[in-house]
Point group: C2
Chain length 197, copies 2
Amino acid sequence: MDLGTAQEVLDAALTLIHTRQHASPKRLDEPGPDPGQIEMILGAAGAAPDHGRLNPWRLIVIPPERRQLLGAAFAEALVERDGDATEVQKQEAMAKAFRGPFLVLVVARLDPALGDTHPQERIISAGCAVQNMLLVAHAMGYGAGLASGRALYSRQMNLLFGLRADEKPLCFLSVGTVSRSKPTRPRPLISDYTSTL
Amino acid sequence: MDLGTAQEVLDAALTLIHTRQHASPKRLDEPGPDPGQIEMILGAAGAAPDHGRLNPWRLIVIPPERRQLLGAAFAEALVERDGDATEVQKQEAMAKAFRGPFLVLVVARLDPALGDTHPQERIISAGCAVQNMLLVAHAMGYGAGLASGRALYSRQMNLLFGLRADEKPLCFLSVGTVSRSKPTRPRPLISDYTSTL
């Protein structure tokens, strides 16, 4: 790498990783990334590990003019799982589609015909791609966050995004300007998640 | 962030992400990371997104004195799936356990009692943790790579690592000094994995 001394490179990496915080799509406003920045965010995904070069995941960008369709799918998914949902709840479900100026769906490609790589390993690759995108958005000064929820796994979502039977929606990733910051969340201790054989 | 201008921070992030390459454990020799560096690598994992704060994955470090046990498990898993495996094949399976000076197993915790977060989303979190570790190892100048294979999903591996029924081994992560470099692998184009709704 050609960016400073070894210590500076390491410090930059650690700072980047440790200062990133989840930003809920609710707290992400305009401005979002411009087309050049979007290309850098999406391009970082392609630098994820990909055992066997399967491209075991794909990204679907939801542009502003399609948010209405996504909102309708959120509302329909709500009604399907809860026939008693109120009008207010339906409006709330629909509103989720309009949060975050830049929005992308991450989809796992689990088709066995792609290659031998285990489904779990394909989702690990997708997770690596997601982290790269979150880190680049953070490096640009944007907030970013993942979102899921029951609607993500609904029939409506599969239909809207044209997912194949062997494709699974993993999460939405939103990027924008943080409107109100929240206290930084404490991280777990290494000992909380690490043991030695 | 306090490391240079906004442009320098972004350049550092993009360089870090795009210059990282997979290094097969076969090509990873001593020296590996020292204890302080290992702490930084493992600590980066804890900065992954974790919806609901479940700690939905855990890491198990395999120290040098346990490599023999891991090698035996690799060989036994081979024999179980192929009773005709030759002595040479068994030795090769065993040898895999000794590759890479620093070796850690990443395990998904899929216990429903941990919380509502969907299993796929838990594996995404693990993937984010993995990418953070790969990036920090790369920032230190080490090579790193993921490894899997059929033995990973074997009964022997579950037993050796004491995994619960609701825990799934995801991959091994190895870190060390790259002994022989390989040509850099071309990345996919953004258009290979991205579409617009």
